[in-house]
Assembly symmetry: C2
Homo-oligomer: 302 residues x 2
């Protein structure tokens, strides 16, 4: 099961971190753009450089599908190659596509993104729950059958996320708490040998204590935590998303790693220098989060 | 604006109907599969046959992205060709992808699916609102800038849809009513010359009166109504999604048209026969809905 493989890699690398792969053409350094390569070739060169730079520092990467869809079918072909390359480098792939639909259509999305015989073959997929629990079932069935995992959107950090996630359900709970309970219950069917479920949640807390509250409901579910670095959150803010074993969360940074080169005064534009900056940013993130966790959870297991 | 073009075509064809393009390989008739064509070629042949068969009967088609993603980058390339072919045949394209994300990522999805300079260039896109109104804004901005449209998921017809859509927001409304109010208000920025907004809603009613209630909140927004035919709803069930002018809704059928051939006793498997069945099913849908609307709304404008 990928959840056990993920935990193994987190322990080995002392790194509950994931690097986003968000190819925004206008932000890519010129060394990938003015080289005679076609756009898809350039995207792939950039993405494989990023993967090479972070492969020893993080257990996982998170390609963001939207930024590949921008390039059409050619972009999707690059996405498929990026997933394969990350796998070759021993990385877990979190496919951030926020897919959602019902019945056969949900089943088709689940197959496309998660199936070992499918075109993408990611390890984890993010899914959006607006349509209700029967819409999530085909994703859960596929994850279970394939030994893969999901991150269900429960709470995100954008201001408007409260509009629906804090609405009150028929059971008298806030939608986010009700979803957390659902993720925990349904996740019991997919618990790996490490004690964590392959069904996790996207949790971007907007106030102190929110992640802790959700942690209490989802004790053995992994949180995918967005917003580290560029979106404003620091290491201290994410510690409460973890359990005392130092597990249970995967903290993502995308722009703060991929596009930090513009903030480096001496950046002269070479691929080597760009890769060194990407690597240094990933290392800084790993160190900051790991030392914060050690401080909060001295009994942590890695 | 595509909303005006849609209304013009609905009037011309006397048909507020849309045919889904859902390529499920196992359900495709053998005449497309055992022909020596590659899979992508076969999918394109099938989809263009369907489009040719219904082009004079309906104003729009609705390719379901999930069923193209199953085939990977090659499937996405077919999807792009299907959209172009539908446009060549004068059809409006409703891109049913239920995309959702925040900030730059939402903007990337909006560009990929709706922009005239983007790879897909659809006319309308379905979007999922779980992340809240700030997550929908980039889609609205793009739709507005490109003269395109959206259908925001407000209420779907699957049993679990009530879990979130009937939760109660901070304003004391059910999520679906609050979303309906939001769609109506934000849609005021994109009203065409025919008086309807380019920002519509997906409304699959689960009880009598639900569509009517939502209609009262979204007077000048189009409803995309799923579930005609195969999903159990008939012409009488959808009339309440319309206004008295006979406009304001687009009723979709997918499987009931695409895969009806298996219910036809004399089906011998030729493309010609398959296309005739698809055409007859689309005509039957158009007739049933148009005559039901005439009965309900004798003052309708077409």
């Amino acid at each position: 099961m990928v959840i056990d493989a993920l935990i193994q890699k987190i322990k080995e690398k002392k790194s509950p971190c994931v690097v986003g792969i968000d190819p925004e053409w206008s932000k890519l350094p010129d060394c990938y753009k003015n080289t005679g390569l076609t756009k898809p070739e350039a995207l792939l060169q950039w993405a494989t450089d990023v993967i090479d730079s972070v492969a020893e520092i993080v257990p996982a990467v998170k390609p963001q599908m939207a930024f590949f869809e921008v390039f059409g079918a050619e972009g999707i072909a690059v996405h498929e190659k990026v997933v394969r390359y990350a796998h070759e480098k021993g990385l877990i792939v979190v496919d951030d596509s926020k897919r959602n639909d019902i019945g056969n259509t949900a089943k088709a999305y689940a197959f496309a993104h998660l199936a070992k015989d499918g075109p993408i073959n990611s390890d984890f997929l993010t899914v959006s729950p607006f349509l209700g629990t029967d819409s999530l079932q085909p994703f859960i069935d596929t994850a279970k059958a394939e030994g893969k995992g999901l991150f269900v959107l429960v709470k995100t950090s954008n201001p408007s996320s409260v509009e629906i996630s804090e609405a009150v359900t028929a059971s008298g709970e806030k939608v986010r708490d009700w979803l957390a309970g659902y993720v925990n219950t349904i996740g019991e069917e997919c618990v790996g040998v490490e004690g964590y479920s392959a069904i996790g949640a996207v949790v971007g807390a907007t106030y102190p204590g929110e992640a802790e509250d959700l942690r209490k409901i989802m004790k053995n579910n992994f949180f995918l935590v967005p917003g580290y670095g560029a979106q404003g959150g620091g290491a201290a803010d994410v510690a409460s998303s973890f359990n005392e074993d130092g597990l249970g969360a995967l903290v993502n940074s995308s722009r703060g790693i991929l596009y930090h080169h513009v903030n480096v005064p001496g950046f002269e534009g070479s691929r080597e220098q760009y890769c060194a900056i990407v690597k240094a940013q990933a290392e800084a993130m790993q160190k900051a989060i790991y030392s914060e966790l050690k401080k909060h959870y001295p009994e942590m297991v890695y």
